[in-house]
Symmetry: C2
Subunit: 369 residues, 2 copies
């Protein structure tokens, strides 16, 4: 297996703009070319797009719009973790030797058809993601005493972190009180405990160890990969206080990279709702089970950016296909020491956790400088 590096990136500001999906994708690729002066179109062996948009042939359209005639070209869809899945697909093309240089482009419009879980008949009328997050929230509160204030702290921390992220949708700080007083959507969840569907795009350049030096002096290597799909229907889940798919994916990623959770310096985790981050820091091994709220509260109190330094989904917005790629870009910037006001000091090992569809599937990546 050849080693695979992330050697460049491009990203657009997340907005509510009504832009065609093709334009979003092309903008991220153009930004990547600007940031990667040694890259020319003919270098690109593969272009993979990640989106839940229903337009077809988007990878080839993006190729044409940006002057690329790739060998490998297709879209990758797996709802909210399309981005990380797409990056791993590109990793496989390179690690296997079928490609040396791959562009991975994630994008979504604010009105993505991936936002509603039409396919899950087990939910009856409760098809909006808020219902599954509400069940996770109530279960975690009941078993571990998690409070509404704990949820608000996640959101306050991530909105605050997002203030230093020039690509974030939100540009406003919210106090714990603001969040707790925001509209109640279910008994347990308020408006500001939810990530916000928006338009955005993000692109990364993956390269094999053989050619990486041509494109960057500071490659970030993907050293661990873990993935798991436990089901597609939410009601197959047997424990609503844990995310089994994330736990299994994390175990595999740690094993592949020979790293332990205690060695992770910085992590982007999939906070689609406030409760997600609390459960994820437990299932990724950063906090013991039941102590997720305490762990996040400590990050907030000490202004520690270790978890979701770019502001996560809550602070940055959630353009489905772009999210996993934007998470990866944040860890690249952190490990390069280029994250400016968001920088976590001395970050050498980073983690990305991206998931889909009521946490039924998860992807975990470990990255090192």
């Amino acid at each position: 297996m050849k080693n695979v590096a992330i050697s460049g990136f491009g990203i657009t500001k997340f907005t509510r703009d009504d832009l065609p999906i093709e334009s979003l994708m092309a903008s991220a690729v153009k930004s990547l070319f600007v940031n990667t002066p040694n890259l020319v179109q003919k270098d690109v062996d593969a272009i993979l797009t990640a989106t839940s948009d229903s337009s077809k042939y988007l990878s080839s359209i993006t190729a044409e719009l940006t002057g690329i005639t790739p060998k490998i070209s297709h879209n990758v869809e797996s709802l909210c973790n399309s981005g990380a899945n797409c990056a791993i697909s590109a990793f496989a093309y390179i690690a296997s030797g079928l490609a040396d240089v791959a562009l991975v482009v994630g994008a979504e419009r604010f009105d993505s058809p991936g936002l509603i879980l039409e396919w899950d008949k087990s939910r009856g009328q409760f098809r909006h993601p808020i219902y599954w997050s509400s069940i996770f929230t109530k279960s975690h509160m009941r078993r571990y005493g998690t409070t509404k204030e704990d949820l608000a702290i996640v959101s306050a921390k991530n909105h605050k972190n997002a203030l230093a992220n020039p690509y974030a949708y939100f540009e406003k700080e919210f106090s714990i009180n603001d969040i707790m007083r925001s509209k109640n959507l279910t008994e347990d969840i308020r408006l500001l405990d939810c990530s916000y569907p928006c338009s955005g795009s993000a692109a990364i350049l993956l390269t094999s160890e053989d050619v990486t030096k041509r494109f960057t002096d500071c490659p970030i290597w993907i050293t661990g990969i873990g993935q798991r799909t436990v089901s597609a229907s939410f009601t197959k889940n047997h424990d609503f206080t844990a995310i089994q798919s994330t736990r299994e994916a994390a175990n595999d990623a740690y094993k592949m990279s020979s790293k332990e959770s205690s060695e992770i310096d910085v992590a982007e985790v999939h906070d689609a709702f406030s409760i997600c981050e609390i459960i994820e820091v437990e299932d990724l091994g950063f906090a013991i089970k039941g102590n997720g709220s305490k762990y996040v509260r400590e990050m907030y109190d000490t202004q520690n950016r270790r978890i979701n330094p770019r502001g996560g989904l809550l602070g940055s917005g959630h353009p489905l296909g772009a999210t996993g790629i934007a998470q990866i870009i944040e860890i690249v910037q952190q490990l390069r020491g280029e994250a400016k006001k968001r920088q976590v000091e001395g970050a050498d090992v980073g983690l990305v956790q991206n998931m889909s569809a009521a946490a039924t599937s998860s992807t975990v990546l470990i990255m090192q400088s």
Copy 2:
């Protein structure tokens, strides 16, 4: 790079039935399990689906419906060659070492949104594929003297071949006269020169060399892969008597497998329209340029099944995402010597050519027993 084998398959009859896409996918997987007695659900590391259907999360839904909890799970979309792209993506996961056992499932409904080329503004109102095939037809006629009877021979041959394919949509022989008298859709193309959108599904099992023996005594190895996207818009094409994407993909596939066109014993080629097969046998190197019609006519006259033994898209029907997988299954059966009435005697080396969107992208696979 690990060697990758095709170790099993399952397929459903192509129909005009109004079945949910999830049911189509699950049916092909169930057929594959029946055909592969040593395979159990927990063996499956990856499930990749190939479709242009707009439903989301289909790989994970198919996994749940068939009792699989994979590591890797996503859909692959690239219009009509989604199937072959998906197989190559699975090849990469296995060749890189990220998976040992991958299920690849292609499916489409007869009313797929991939049938109309909404995205190609360069076509103006001429968005139906019939228009690009009509331009290819007229160009090839003008330069090489190809006739309407030559086109009809392709269709007659492939419909006849399909009579021995139990999964084909068509179950009727058409004479050259029947085809030439079928409805004129454009000046050059008649109804029976066009493949037929239908519902269908097909699945293959890919395995690494390390585990292949557990599943089959007659593995078929993928030894050559070539892919090329030259554009997304049809009007970027500069020569309408050749398919540049296929020519380049074929060159790469021959090179990777150290085979020449003269060594191919049997081939499934993408005859979306009659003219396609004529041009493809030229660009794959089976006939010299301009002699495609003569070559196909000889196959017809001598009842030689070398090209499109299952009946191609013209005879079998064209459920977009399933087509590339069904092509691969035919070559597997041929190379195993299990193709019954369709068998090409002594077939050791086979080729699949699958393409998309006015031939703007092509995939070529070379397979060996």
